[in-house]
């Protein structure tokens, strides 16, 4: 059964058609790339999938539920995590607090329990402290736990954002230009991280990226869009030799 399916979704802003007739199906343990020129509508698609925008046409399914009208935080609880094109960390908070905030939905103690420091408070806080440190440990960031996240180097900030998205326990992870602003060395590390995440967390990944070495190197399937429409889909080799894609995006 597919994790995520869209049926002919489209998005219109006033008179502008940003995306039209976009259909996709992502199954378990897949790694799919979404590429296209700037302004093609890639991030708009991400925003529709994650509930930031409600599609003006078509339907989005997570599992078997239609999630068109769900809010972003509800969609997260259904197993869809994301990162942002321009990093959006909680800058003035420590690294570990960034992760702990993402565990919010797994906790249930009440305000009363919090204020009177009840048993449930201590138990749950201890649990997520351990879980958060474990997660940071997997990414070799346990020493940075108490650092302000804005003080981290750029590559680690990207990593922390992915880490935070993983803390929401997603089945499908959407990465919006994870390699933007990275040097070749950092991009290589990122590719290893992505491979590691798939292995360890058994998540499917849908990523937007302009770095062709990364996209062609790790994606199993690629979808190319231009002017809000799908112009090609297939394996990296098929995409590389597709005339339309070369004309619109890759260049000769």
């Amino acid at each position: 059964m597919s994790l995520l399916k869209t049926e002919h979704i489209g998005m219109t802003f006033g008179g502008l058609k940003a995306v039209s007739d976009f259909s996709i199906e992502i199954n378990e343990n897949e790694l799919v790339g979404l590429i296209g020129p700037n302004g093609a509508g890639k991030t708009t698609i991400f925003n529709m999938l994650t509930g930031v925008y409600a599609p003006t046409e078509g339907k989005v399914f997570l599992g078997e539920t239609v999630v068109n009208k769900k809010k972003p935080y509800q969609i997260v609880t259904m197993g869809l995590g994301r990162t942002f094109q321009n990093i959006r960390l909680f800058k003035e908070l420590s690294v570990i607090d960034n992760i702990k905030i993402a565990f919010h939905k797994d906790m249930s103690y009440s305000t009363v329990s919090a204020v009177f420091r009840g048993k449930k408070y201590w138990k749950e806080e201890k649990e997520i402290d351990i879980k958060a440190r474990e997660l940071l440990g997997l990414f070799n960031m346990e020493e940075d736990a108490n650092v302000l996240s804005s003080n981290l180097p750029y590559g680690k900030q990207r990593k922390l954002e992915i880490c935070r998205a993983l803390a929401t326990n997603p089945k499908l992870l959407l990465l919006d230009e994870p390699a933007a602003g990275m040097n070749p060395q950092e991009t290589k590390e990122l590719m290893e991280t992505i491979a590691f995440i798939r292995e360890k967390f058994k998540v499917s990944i849908l990523l937007i990226e302009h770095d062709m070495s990364l996209v062609m190197g790790i994606c199993e399937r690629i979808i190319v869009i231009d002017y809000g429409r799908v112009i090609a889909a297939g394996t990296p080799d098929e995409i590389k030799s597709n005339e339309k894609v070369i004309g619109a995006y890759l260049g000769q």
């Binding site: 935080y73 995590g81 960390l89 909680f90 003035e92 908070l93 905030i101 919010h104 305000t111 201590w122």
Partner: protein, 324 residues
């Protein structure tokens, strides 16, 4: 609960009791006379309301300029309740304060749900307007005593009552902020879109934080009524809201201990500047400008003063000295 936490509690409670005992003794032997006692009580009320505003502005990141309105609602509710019923002092006091807080909280909910869709300046304007509506309503209603003010409120608040009320409010805020709910509130200030994308119901927490803030402001207002014995609607004007805002900015947005410090300082400065009232706001503005130049995030920034940390540092030092 581990031992460290318990020993921390014991140290803090001891410190609270010692400070109380010292000030109480000074009041008894008249070193702190009635005049200064009064300023201390007002400072306590300032701390409560400014701390509540810090929750809405410093932690939740919403510009709220109508806290005098919530205070007024709390003050009039508590006072009218105490005048209407005939119960033992402390029952009336506690029930009155809670009732004042609850009614202020309900108003917070009513204006919070539509207003929190707005951001920044717009929210500021809406809350400002709300504060003015409350003031004008109180001026023109008959059961509140109108422009002549509400008289005959029993004096239930003295130094002891206000001291422990402040302790209660501050303890509540600390515990609240350092929980999953507090983290959710902090994340909204940092980045609302990111917060939503990791599963925080941001609308809920914005309204929730705002209502809690209004509740505490209402309690503070109730305490003001029980101390002054007379309520004048003209007091709860826009400038009164701004004064709390100044305290929060001075102390540091997102620092409760900073708020305590700034509230104490401002309460005393206020009294000394009473004779030159027209210059008061000029001096406030100057203070703010100077602070913005030299320490733009307020006295304590986002840091908190911690007795435990201070003691730990102290004991470490002495240990090293002993070892030498």
């Amino acid at each position: 609960m581990d031992k460290k936490v318990i020993s921390g509690y014991i140290k803090n409670i001891t410190a609270i009791m010692v400070v109380y005992a010292i000030i109480f003794y000074l009041i008894q032997i008249k070193v702190i006379n009635n005049y200064y006692n009064g300023i201390l009580i007002l400072a306590g009320i300032y701390i409560i309301v400014a701390a509540s505003l810090n929750l809405a502005t410093g932690y939740l990141g919403q510009l709220a300029l109508g806290h005098a309105g919530f205070m007024a609602i709390g003050a009039y509710t508590a006072a009218l309740f105490a005048i209407a019923v005939d119960l033992p002092k402390y029952v009336e006091l506690v029930a009155g304060l809670i009732l004042g807080g609850v009614v202020a909280g309900i108003f917070g909910l009513i204006i919070g749900i539509p207003a929190l869709r707005l951001r920044g300046d717009y929210l500021g304007i809406v809350t400002l307007g709300f504060g003015e509506i409350i003031r004008i309503a109180l001026l023109n209603l008959s059961f509140t005593g109108g422009a002549a003010g509400l008289k005959g409120i029993p004096r239930y608040v003295n130094f002891t009552e206000i001291y422990f009320l402040v302790v209660l409010v501050i303890a509540f805020l600390f515990a609240f902020i350092r929980s999953r709910h507090g983290r959710a509130i902090l994340s909204i200030k940092e980045d609302e879109i990111a917060a939503e994308s990791v599963g925080i119901p941001t609308t809920f927490y914005k309204v929730y934080g705002f209502v809690v803030s209004a509740f505490i402001a209402g309690v503070g207002g109730g305490a003001l009524g029980f101390y002054q014995r007379i309520l004048d609607p003209k007091k709860f004007n826009f400038m009164f809201s701004v004064e709390f805002f100044i305290i929060v900015v001075l102390g540091g947005m997102g620092s409760i201990t900073g708020t305590i410090l700034a509230a104490l300082a401002l309460a005393f400065i206020n009294e000394f500047l009473y004779s030159i009232d027209e210059l008061r706001l000029v001096i406030y503005a100057l203070t703010l400008i100077i602070l913005m130049i030299f320490k733009s995030d307020g006295l304590l920034g986002r840091k908190e003063f911690s007795l435990i940390k201070l003691l730990n540092r102290f004991s470490k030092k002495t240990k090293i000295e002993n070892a030498d």
